[in-house]
C-alpha cells in the first residue's frame, strides 16, 4: 500500500511518515500543494492524506482538480480546521474521510486501511482467500488461523494482491504500489519478494500470469 502524504509541516510529516512506514505503508511526502497535486495526478497511490492549508496551493483545490481529472483514489483530509462547515466543504470537494489535528496515529492508520479496503470494493473488514485471511483493519495476515510474519515489502505486495484477489495485478502496477517514489527500483526484486511470499504461504496461491503479472487465487480458475 502506497500513501501520498501532502503536509507542509516538516516535523509532523516526518512523524506521520515514520508511523505509517512502521505499519508497512510506502509513503511519499509532498510539502506543498503544487507538488502534491502533481504526484497525485501522475503516480499510482492507494490512498492520499491531504492537508488543507498548504503553501502554493490550497488542499481543497488540489482535491477538486484530482476529482475533475477523474482520479478516484481515496483521499483523507488531515487538517486543523475542525468546524463542521469545513468538513462539509471537504467532502463536497470529493474527500472520502476527514481527520482533525491533533489525532491519534492509530486512528489515522485504521482509517487509511479502511479507505483502501472500501476503494477495492470490500465491505467486510476480513478478506479471505483460501487458507489466507487478511484483517484489513489491523493489517494482520493469517494462514490457517496462524498469524503470518511479513516484512514491509512482503506485506505491501501481499495486501495489494489480496485486495484484488482472483484478479490479475499487473507487474508495473504492483511495483508502483510497493516502492516509494524516490526508491531505487530493481525490477528483479519483485520476483525475489514473490518467491519469498510463495515460500511463506504456499506456491499455489500466487499465480504468475506470463507477460501480465500476478494473481492471488484460492484455486485454479
Amino acid at each position: 500500500m502506497r500513501v501520498l502524504l501532502v503536509e507542509d509541516d516538516a516535523a509532523l510529516a516526518e512523524s506521520i511518515a515514520r508511523a505509517l512506514r512502521a505499519e508497512s505503508f510506502a509513503v511519499d511526502v509532498a510539502d506543498n500543494g503544487e507538488d502534491g497535486g502533481h504526484l497525485g495526478s501522475t503516480e499510482a497511490y492507494d490512498v492520499a492524506v491531504l492537508d488543507l492549508g498548504l503553501p502554493r496551493r490550497d488542499g481543497l483545490s488540489v482535491l477538486a482538480e484530482w476529482r475533475a481529472g477523474g482520479r478516484t483514489l481515496p483521499v483523507l483530509i488531515l487538517t486543523a480546521r475542525d468546524a463542521w462547515s469545513d468538513k462539509v466543504l471537504g467532502f463536497k470537494a470529493g474527500a472520502d474521510d476527514y481527520l482533525v489535528k491533533p489525532f491519534r496515529v492509530e486512528e489515522l492508520v485504521m482509517r487509511l486501511r479502511a479507505l483502501v479496503r472500501r476503494a477495492a470494493g470490500h465491505a467486510a473488514s476480513v478478506i479471505q482467500c483460501g487458507p489466507l485471511s487478511f484483517e484489513a483493519q489491523t493489517g494482520v495476515f493469517q494462514l490457517d488461523g496462524m498469524p503470518l510474519k511479513l516484512t514491509a515489502f512482503e506485506w505491501r505486495v501481499l495486501s495489494c494482491l489480496m485486495l484484488r484477489k482472483e484478479a490479475v495485478v499487473e507487474r508495473l502496477d504492483l511495483l508502483e504500489r510497493v516502492y516509494e517514489g524516490d526508491a531505487d527500483v530493481d525490477s528483479n526484486s519483485l520476483e525475489v519478494i514473490i518467491g519469498r511470499l510463495r515460500r511463506k504461504i504456499g506456491a499455489s496461491l500466487i499465480e504468475t500470469v506470463r507477460g501480465l503479472g500476478y494473481r492471488l487465487t484460492a484455486g485454479p480458475a
Binding site: 509541516d9 516535523a11 509532523l12 512523524s15 506521520i16 508511523a19 492549508g53 486543523a80 480546521r81 475542525d82 468546524a83 463542521w84 462547515s85 468538513k87 462539509v88 467532502f91 463536497k92 474527500a95 472520502d96 474521510d97 476527514y98 482533525v100 489535528k101 491533533p102 489525532f103 491519534r104 496515529v105 492509530e106 486512528e107 479502511a114 472500501r118 473488514s125
Partner: protein, 424 residues
C-alpha cells in the same frame, strides 16, 4: 447652569418659544404705539384747530382782541379739562372753562420756560392740572411788535388713553391667539420633523437584532451622512470581529499542528505527557468553539435547513462509512432558520456525529416548525444515557474515552443554540 434642555425637541421648543414670545411682545408694543400715535394725532389736530382760532385774537401790535377768540365747546365747559390761553405781552385771554384761573403749565416747565425756546409752530407738552389729571398741551409762540405772545391749548390725556385701553384687550387676545397657533404649529413641526430620528433609531435596533445588515434610509437628506457613517461603522465592526475570529482560529490551528506532532512522537511515550497534550487540545477546541460562537450582535441570516442537513448527513455517511447506518430525514421543505450558517453546521454536526457514533443501525432526523421555532430532533437507536449522564455531558464532561470526539460537542452545541435564542 444649563440654559438648553437635554432633549432635541426640548431645545427646539425652548428656542422657538422664547423667539415667539419676544416677537409677539414686540408686535403688541408696536401695534400699541401706532394706535397711540394715531389717537394722539386726532387730539393734536383738535387742539391745533383751537390754537388757530384763538391766535387770530393776537394783533400785530401785541394787543389781544377778546371778541376774536371764539370759545367753542367743550372749551367753554368748566372742569372738562379742555382749555386754552393766550398770553400776550400786555394781557391774557382764557377759555371760559378756566374761569379766570391760569392754565397750569406743565410742572417741569414752571417757572415758565423762556419764550425763546417755544417755537412758532404748535408742539406738544405733557403735564398735569390742579386736580392731578394728566393734560396734553399744544403750545405756539406768536411774535408781535411788542414782544412774543404764547398760545396754548390743552385737552385731557384721558381722551387718548381711553380708546387705547379699550383696544388693548382685543389686541392682547389676538396676540395670544396667534401665540397659541404658533405653539401648535411648533409642536406639529417637532413631531413631523423629529420622526426620522425615531425611525433611524428603529433601523439601528434592527441591525443590532440582526434582522438586517445595513441601515437603509432614503430621507431626510440631513440624516444621510450620518447613515453612511453608521453603515461604515457597522462594516468596520464586522471586519474587526471577523479579524479577531480569524486570529483566534489561526492561533488554534497553528497550535494544532505542533500538538499533532508532539502527540505522534509521544505515541508510545509517557502517558502523563500525553494526558497534558490532550488537555491542551481540549482547551484549544473549547475556546475555538467559543470564539466562533461569540459574535455579539452579529448579523444573522436566514438559512435553509435542508441543504445543511443533507450535506452534514452525507459527511456523516463518509466519516462513519464502516458503520452501516441508515438515516431517514423527515423535514418540511423550505424550512428556514435564523442562524449563522457555520454555527448551524457546528450545532447539527456535533449532534449528528454523536448519533452516528452511538446508533446501532438507524438515525432519524425530523424538523418541524413549532410556534415560530424550528424543532429539530435527532434520534438514534443506540443505548441512550441516564439523566445524570446527560447532565454531565452537556456541561462538557466527557463520558467515553474511546478516542474519537473531544467531549465538548454537546456543550458547544448547547452554547450555540442558546446564543441563537434556542435550546438543546
Amino acid at each position: 447652569m444649563r440654559l438648553l434642555p437635554r432633549s432635541l425637541s426640548g431645545r427646539l421648543l425652548a428656542t422657538a418659544a422664547v423667539t415667539i414670545l419676544i416677537a409677539l411682545a414686540l408686535a403688541a408694543a408696536a401695534i400699541g404705539h401706532v394706535l397711540e400715535r394715531f389717537v394722539m394725532s386726532g387730539l393734536d389736530d383738535r387742539l391745533d384747530a383751537q390754537i388757530a382760532i384763538v391766535a387770530r385774537a393776537v394783533g400785530p401790535d401785541g394787543t389781544l382782541d377778546g371778541a376774536k377768540a371764539v370759545d367753542l365747546p367743550p372749551f367753554d365747559q368748566a372742569g372738562s379739562g379742555w382749555a386754552w390761553e393766550v398770553i400776550g405781552p400786555t394781557a391774557t385771554l382764557r377759555s371760559a372753562s378756566l374761569r379766570g384761573a391760569d392754565l397750569p403749565l406743565p410742572r417741569d416747565d414752571a417757572p415758565p420756560r423762556p419764550r425763546e425756546r417755544v417755537r412758532e409752530r404748535p408742539h406738544p407738552l405733557e403735564g398735569t392740572d390742579a386736580s392731578g389729571r394728566r393734560i396734553h398741551y399744544r403750545i405756539m409762540r406768536l411774535p408781535t411788535l411788542r414782544g412774543d405772545a404764547l398760545v396754548l391749548a390743552a385737552g385731557p390725556r384721558a381722551i387718548v388713553d381711553r380708546p387705547i385701553r379699550a383696544a388693548m384687550l382685543p389686541l392682547l387676545l389676538s396676540v395670544l391667539l396667534l401665540g397659541g397657533f404658533l405653539a401648535v404649529a411648533l409642536v406639529v413641526q417637532l413631531r413631523i420633523g423629529l420622526r426620522p430620528l425615531a425611525k433611524l433609531s428603529d433601523r439601528v435596533a434592527e441591525v443590532r437584532a440582526g434582522h438586517v445588515r445595513h441601515i437603509t434610509v432614503e430621507e431626510p437628506t440631513e440624516l444621510l451622512p450620518l447613515v453612511a457613517e453608521l453603515n461604515a461603522l457597522i462594516d468596520a465592526n464586522e471586519a474587526a470581529v471577523a479579524r479577531a475570529r480569524g486570529h483566534v482560529a489561526n492561533l488554534a490551528h497553528g497550535l494544532k499542528t505542533p500538538l499533532a506532532t508532539l502527540k505522534l512522537d509521544l505515541a508510545e511515550g509517557d502517558s502523563r505527557l500525553r494526558e497534558q497534550i490532550e488537555r491542551m487540545e481540549r482547551q484549544i477546541r473549547h475556546h475555538l468553539g467559543r470564539a466562533r460562537a461569540a459574535e455579539p450582535g452579529g448579523v444573522v441570516t436566514r438559512v435553509a435547513l435542508a441543504p445543511h442537513l443533507n450535506d452534514l448527513i452525507a459527511a456523516m455517511a463518509r466519516i462513519h462509512a464502516d458503520r452501516d447506518i441508515a438515516s431517514s430525514v423527515n423535514l418540511m421543505p423550505l424550512v428556514q432558520v435564523h442562524c449563522d450558517p457555520q454555527d448551524l453546521d457546528e450545532m447539527l454536526g456535533n449532534l449528528l456525529d454523536n448519533a452516528w457514533r452511538h446508533a446501532r443501525a438507524q438515525v432519524g432526523v425530523t424538523a418541524r416548525v413549532v410556534e415560530r421555532m424550528v424543532r429539530i430532533e435527532i434520534a438514534d437507536d443506540g443505548p441512550g444515557m441516564t439523566p445524570a449522564q446527560i447532565a454531565e455531558i452537556t456541561r462538557g464532561h466527557r463520558l467515553d474515552e474511546r478516542g474519537e470526539g473531544h467531549g465538548f460537542g454537546l456543550a458547544i452545541s448547547r452554547e450555540l443554540a442558546e446564543l441563537h435564542g434556542g435550546t438543546l
